[in-house]
Symmetry: C2
Subunit: 170 residues, 2 copies
Amino acid sequence: MTTHHETIRQYDKMLDNLGKWLDKAEEHAKAKKFDADLLAGARLAPDAFSLAQQVQAACDQAKFAAAYLSGKKAPPHPDTEKTLAELRTRIQSCKAFLATVEEKDFAGSEDRKVAPPWLPKGWFRGDDYLNGLSIPNFYFHATMAYAILRHNGVEVGKMDFIGGLNIQEG
Amino acid sequence: MTTHHETIRQYDKMLDNLGKWLDKAEEHAKAKKFDADLLAGARLAPDAFSLAQQVQAACDQAKFAAAYLSGKKAPPHPDTEKTLAELRTRIQSCKAFLATVEEKDFAGSEDRKVAPPWLPKGWFRGDDYLNGLSIPNFYFHATMAYAILRHNGVEVGKMDFIGGLNIQEG
């Protein structure tokens, strides 16, 4: 079994990876001589989230999972980012909050009542929330951010998505 | 904490959702009067996986996680699917295998040595494999399949991605 704290640490790692895809986006824009921040507004369909919105949403999924499952209060983020530099700051701010939530804060979190403000009535068991809602949503937005960059020619590959691996020897 | 069995059940649910996106793709093709199977070859970049490959890869991630973490042998799939109907059959075959793996088969799976054939040396702890490799990869390929359909005008939305929610009353 995977503890909720381990999942939040994995989100933190994925946010690091996401920051590195933005670095590659800037390198690509520089080589092709276009304004890298144009990519922040890129989207896969006219009625789909832009790159900036996908990054904001990935950060929010990580932040709210850490908050809802630990009982801590998430810091507000007004979704005003329009540049890659601002998105990088958003990622760092989200990571700083994740770092404040310790393993012990998740004690009993599988049975914690999670009632997000958008849910009209009822609540989720902590475990159902994480497994059936937070994880799919987090990876959805992270992957959509990656997909937008990939579609726009940025040289990101699968290992940029996954990041470092924890390989045991022997 | 989320048990490995719960994660595999969540994969199973996502594979159901994926099948429904393919249904929506067929409805869209019918309304627009084009051959739905053209979508099986659609991709977001010339050097990225096609929809068919994304579906195959999502199925494989689910199948191998269930096999590696339970010690069962995964059935082979030669990746020959070229139509949406064949992809649907692949999904069903994967789900049939997942259904054979029971909760008790995952006993001790967090510490199981997972050594996929593509890893040159060493191994992953079961938990590291699931959290750091299988889950990101599974959702990556599921989301990329969704992204290809979304980019091609298929009317899939976020709730099609997430599927049914386990809401508690009271």
